[in-house]
Amino acid sequence: MGTLTRARRGSGKAGRGDDGAPWSHRHLLQLRGMSRAELRRILSKARRYEAQLSGARGLDAVNSELRGRVVANLFFEDSTRTRSSFSVAARRLGAEVIDLTSVGSSVSKGETVSDTALNIAAMGVDAMVIRHRSSGACHLVVRTLEGRRRDGGAEVAGDLSASRACSIVNAGDGRHEHPTQGLLDIYTLAHRFGRLEDFDLRGLTVAIIGDVASSRVARSDIAGMSALGARVVCVGPPGLVPEGLRSLGCDVSHDLDAVIGRVDALNVLRIQFERHEVKGSSGGENRPAASSSTAIASIREYSELYGINARRAARMRRNAIVMHPGPINRGVELTADVADSQRSMVLAQVSHGVAVRMAVLSLCVGATGRAGA
C-alpha cells in the first residue's frame, strides 16, 4: 500500500485543481513517500483557503465544494484540536460532519476498528477522519474497505458497491504519523519565512525537541519537511531520541545547547508518558505517570537538559520561531514565558490547521467523487 493510496484504476481524471496538477489519491495515510509536487499541491490549495478565511469576508465565504457530502470523525483516542479542526474544515467546505467522539464505547463493547469503520462506511459517508492508538490502524481500515469492495461488492449489493468510495484521512495512528499536523507545521514554517509561493524550504533548519520516539507528529514533520528541502535535527535524551532515527533522513543530537543557536525553528514536543513503557511492566497497556516511565530518568533532569525556557530562547536566532503541536505541559518542555512570547507560533499553527485540512478533504473527497462515477 502506498503512501497515499491511489484511487482505483480507471477512475479517470480525479479532482484536478487550479494548479493543474492532477490529484488521484483517495486517502491520506502518511507523508512519508509523498513527492514534493504532491505536498505542494495540498499546501498551495491550503494557501487559497487561508486567504479566504483570513480575508475580510472570511466567515461569509462559505464554500460549497463539498455540499451534500458527509465527513465522519472517528476518534478512538482523545483529541481536542485535531477533531474540532477537521470539523470546522469540513463545514467550511459545505460538508456535513458526524462527530463520533464516543467510538470508544464501541471499542469497549468489543468492536474492532475495522468493523466500526465498515459500519460507518456502509452508511455512505464520503470521508472518515480516523485517530487510533495503533500504528498502521488507518492502513488496516483502507485494506479492509478496499478488500470488501473488491471481493464483496457483488454479493453484498448496496452496502459497499463501487459507487460509494470512502476516503480515509489519518488523524494520527499510534506513534506512526499525523500527516495533517505535519502539513500545518510546514505551512507555518513557509508562512513565517516567506515560502508560500513554492513551499521550497531549502536553507531552513528545524529542530524537533523532545519525545520524538513516541511522536507521530515528528515522523510526519521529518518526512514532509525533508521532502521540501529543510534540514531536520531531532534533539533529546537517547531514550526519547534514539540514533536509529537517522534512517528517516534527519540528524540526531543529544545536546540542545549546541543546536539551539543554529536553527530557524523549534518544534517542541510534549513527553507522551501515556505511550511509554512502565517500569517493571510487561507491556504498554497501563498509562504510566511520569515517575514510572522508563524512557527518562526524571522530569527534573529532562527540563534542565532539554526544556525550552527564556534563557535558552534568548540564544535563538533573531527570527527563529517556536512551534508546539499541543497540548503543552507548561513548565516541562516549554515554560510559560516562551509559550506566550513573540516567537511562539502555537495559535498560528492551529489556524493554519483548518486551511490545511480543508485542502486535504477537498482533494481526497474530490478524488473519491470522480472515482465512483
Binding site: 475495522s114 500504528s135 488496516l140 506513534r175 515522523r219 536509529g244 528517516l248 510487561s282 507491556g283
Partner: protein, 432 residues
Amino acid sequence: MSKVLIVGGKVVDPVAGTQHAADVAIDGGKVAAIGKRLARPAAARVIDAEGCLVTPGLIDPHVHLREPGNERAETIASGTAAAVEGGFTSVCCMPNTSPALDNDSMIQFVLTRAEKSGACRVFPVGAVSKGRRGEELAEIGLMARAGAVGFSDDGDCVASAGLMARALAAVKATGAALMQHCQEPTMTRSAVMHAGEVSTRLELGGWPRAAEELIIERDARLNRSIGCRYHVQHISSGESVEIVRRARAQGQPITAEATPHHLLLTHETIETSGYDTHYKMNPPLREKSDIAAIKKGIADGTIGVLGTDHAPHTAESKEVPFDSATFGIIGLETALALYARALVHDGVIDWPRLVALMTIEPARLCGLDAMGLGMLEVGGPADVTVIDPKAEWTIKPANLVGHSKNTPFIGWKVKGRAVATIVAGKVRMIRR
C-alpha cells in the same frame, strides 16, 4: 492391516545420504521389503511413485496444535490433518496450550486425544516451568515418563538464568533436549517486528537481534558444565548462527532449527504490505543478510533441523491493528514446497539432504530414532512420504486443511509437493 506397494520411485536414505530406485512394500504397519521390482501381493494397494522421491515420513519438531484451550484456531484432529496434507507423519506439539502441558496428566491427555483423533503421530513437548511462567520447574521427570519428547516454554523464553541452570540439569537427566525460545524479555516488551529501519519508519516496537543472541550465548555458557542437549528454536538472526557454530565447534551438544518464513521473507514485507499482520511473527522477519547466514548455517550443518512453527490463529486475531495482532503463521501444508524453494532450488542443499533435515535429524532431536522413525528400514515402522519434486502448484486457501488460514504465502507459485503420506502403514493422504 492392509498392504501397500509403492512402485517406481527413488528411495531416499537420509541416514546414508543416498537415493536409489526401489519399490517399498508395506505390511501390517511395518516396512516389509525395499528392493527392485518387488512382487505385487494380492490385495495390495499400489501407489505409483514414478518420478517421485520415497522418503521416511516427514517429522516436524515444532508445531502448535492449540488443544486444549483454543480449539477454534486448531485441534489435534485438524492440525494432524494439515500435517498429512503436507507430508508429515509425526509432529511435536508445543506446550503453550491453555492450560499448559506442564504435568504428566496433560501429556497423557494429548497422547489420548491424538490416539483417538490424530491423522498422524503426535509427540508432546512438555513445559520447562509450571504454567510456563518461568518461575519454578515443571514436573519434567514425570512428563518424560508419560511420553514428553522434549521440553520448552516456547512462546516464552526461559529467561531466569537460575531457573535455566536447574532446567538444563533436570532435562539432561531425562535424556531429552531442552528447546529454547531465545528472547530476552526485558529487551522486547512492546516488540512486534525486527528492530531496524523499517520499524523506525512504521513506528512499531522493535525486537533487536541481540535479544536472541544474548540468550544463546548465556545458555551455551550455563550448559558448559551441565551438558544437556540444547536446541535453539526458530533461529532468526545471522549472528545467532555464528554463536551456534562456535559452540558446536567446541563440542557442545547444541542444535538449531530454521523455519520457512525466516528463509523467504524480510521485515520489508510489513511496509510493502501496509502493516499486514500475516507478516507478524515471533521471532520477527529480519533482513536479507540474516537469510543468507541462516542458509549458510544449513549448508554447513550448523542448523540441522527444519521445523514449521505451525502457529494457527483465528482470522479475528489477525484482522486488528499490527500491535494487537497475534504472532505467527501456519506452515504444515506449505513447508515442504517452501523449503524446496528456499534451499533446493537455490542450490543450498540437495533433495536427500533436505529430506534428512526433515526426517532423521528431527527424529534424533526428539529421540524418535529409537522407535525407528526418521528412517526407512525393513521391519521398521511404515511411515512414508512420497514427494513429487517437480509438481508445480499455487498456494491457495483451498489447499489449507487446518482450521486456520493465516499465511502470507497465499498466491505463491511453488514446486515440490507431498503426493502421498503413509502413517504406520495407513495411507492418510494421496494425490495420485
